[in-house]
């Protein structure tokens, strides 16, 4: 945090851009919190861009600060190092993704529809920005044990909602919590593998595969077929 710190100490050496506004190099009267927000934003963008392109291991603080055009001092005021900067980016991507899914799901009626809608939204997000998807699903698994903990926590956030499907199945209701963990792992692995190979393929078949994996432990064959067909129609329309 830079709150309360005298900005001129380190503003001399940097330039900040946001949209079409460029904050000029040199002394100016911007409040420190505003400056820090600008810097965080630029570092986020640079981290996403670089890590998605080069991989976590081959990206250095040096790369990030140069690409973000933020000074080293300012970087280390905000983050302890590369790992913390990366984790902040990961957490933000997950939070924003979760919020988008929650908004989409709010319009759906009933748990099966909510799940199908949520999965469609998740895959839309992946297709819309594969860089963010790479951070959230691929690079996080290469970024060490702390990052892996963040990843597991993020996956666990979705487990209770998925577990609501147990109401629909006597068998599923009798199983341990590993069921939801496994299903989520399976869905994310399919997307992970496609991202690693650099080809997401047909979004329709991807959605259908994930719907089947997510819902077939809970619902009957007919309901699964109906949801798979609805998801295909929805994609064709969009």
């Amino acid at each position: 945090m830079v709150g309360g710190r005298e900005p001129a100490r380190y503003l001399d050496t940097m330039t900040i851009e946001r949209d079409d506004v460029i904050v000029p190099t040199g002394r100016h009267g911007l409040p420190p919190d505003v400056v820090a927000d600008h810097q965080r934003e630029r570092l986020f963008e640079a981290t996403v861009e670089l890590v998605a392109k080069r991989g976590y291991r081959d990206t250095s603080v040096d790369h990030i600060v140069k690409s973000a055009r933020v000074g080293y001092v300012a970087f280390y005021e905000l983050y302890e190092g590369k790992e913390e900067c990366f984790l902040a980016a990961f957490d933000r991507i997950v939070d924003e993704g979760a919020a988008a899914v929650a908004t989409a799901v709010a319009e759906a009626d009933g748990w099966p529809e909510e799940m199908a809608t949520g999965l469609a939204c998740l895959l839309d997000l992946v297709v819309a920005d594969t860089r963010r998807a790479r951070i959230a699903l691929v690079e996080v698994q290469a970024a060490g044990p702390r990052a892996y903990e963040h990843y597991e926590k993020a996956v666990d956030r979705a487990a209770p909602k998925l577990g609501e499907g147990r109401e629909f199945s006597r068998e599923a209701a009798s199983l341990s919590g590993a069921l939801e963990e496994a299903i989520l792992g399976g869905i994310l692995w399919i997307v992970h593998q496609r991202l690693v190979k650099g080809e997401l393929g047909d979004p329709g078949s991807l959605l259908e595969e994930t719907i089947r994996i997510a819902l077939s432990p809970y619902l009957g064959d007919e309901e699964i077929e109906r949801l798979a067909a609805t998801s295909r129609d929805r994609l064709q329309q969009s």
Binding site: Q141, A142, S176, A182, G186, W189, S205, E208, P217, D221
Partner: protein, 200 residues
């Protein structure tokens, strides 16, 4: 005995990687743990990565011998997959550090280590996807089903590689079989998996 010394260095690297992470282990740490020297290590392995690759090759060979062997011992799917699943769970129980080394520690170390894991996963995927031959309507099963099932099970395994929780893996086989059988043979066959006890 170069072969025995190689094994000792490989074991030391697996142990150290389990303790502090593969990246944090240097060749000097490995030689110290194995009671050797850097010169001897370098006479046996060109690099730490080469040592890791040798370990991974050994893991893939030993794991597949157990898992594939169990799979092939049963003539029909899903009996074959169930036998493979128990063999896999037992192998992991006996080799938790090696599984950790193969699944988590080294996969990103190089393209070669990543390819070795892909090879192993390809074998698992084939054993799951053999369910297609047993399915009534194979064409209705999406192409990525087996990949999803293997990913699902791998996630569950990854979280249970340490200590006592490893024992859960054997207990979880019926649930994982439920998950694997459901897309291929439908609800009834999947339910049956939950009632089949562990062998022996």
């Amino acid at each position: 005995m170069p072969a025995a010394r190689r094994s000792e260095y490989m074991e030391a690297l697996v142990d150290l990687a389990a303790e502090r992470g593969y990246d944090a282990v240097g060749v000097a740490d490995v030689t110290e743990r194995a009671g050797g020297s850097v010169a001897e290590f370098e006479s046996l392995f060109p690099s730490k990565l080469a040592c890791a690759v040798a370990i991974l090759e050994g893991i893939a060979e030993s794991n597949l011998r157990a898992v594939r062997g169990a799979f092939d011992s049963e003539p029909a799917w899903p009996d074959s997959l169930r036998a493979a699943a128990y063999a896999h769970a037992e192998w992991i129980l006996e080799n938790p550090k090696k599984m950790r080394f193969g699944l988590l520690e080294t996969v990103w170390a190089s393209e070669l280590t990543s390819a070795l894991r892909d090879h192993l996963f390809g074998e698992y995927v084939a054993m799951v996807d053999a369910g297609r031959e047993a399915a009534g309507d194979p064409d209705s099963i999406p192409a990525g089903t087996a990949l999803g099932v293997v990913g699902a099970i791998t996630g569950v395994i990854t979280r249970r590689l340490g200590g006592e929780s490893g024992r859960q893996l054997v207990d979880l086989v019926p649930e994982m079989m439920y998950l694997a059988v459901r897309p291929y043979l439908g609800e009834e066959a999947a339910r049956r998996e939950l009632t089949i006890p562990a062998p022996g």
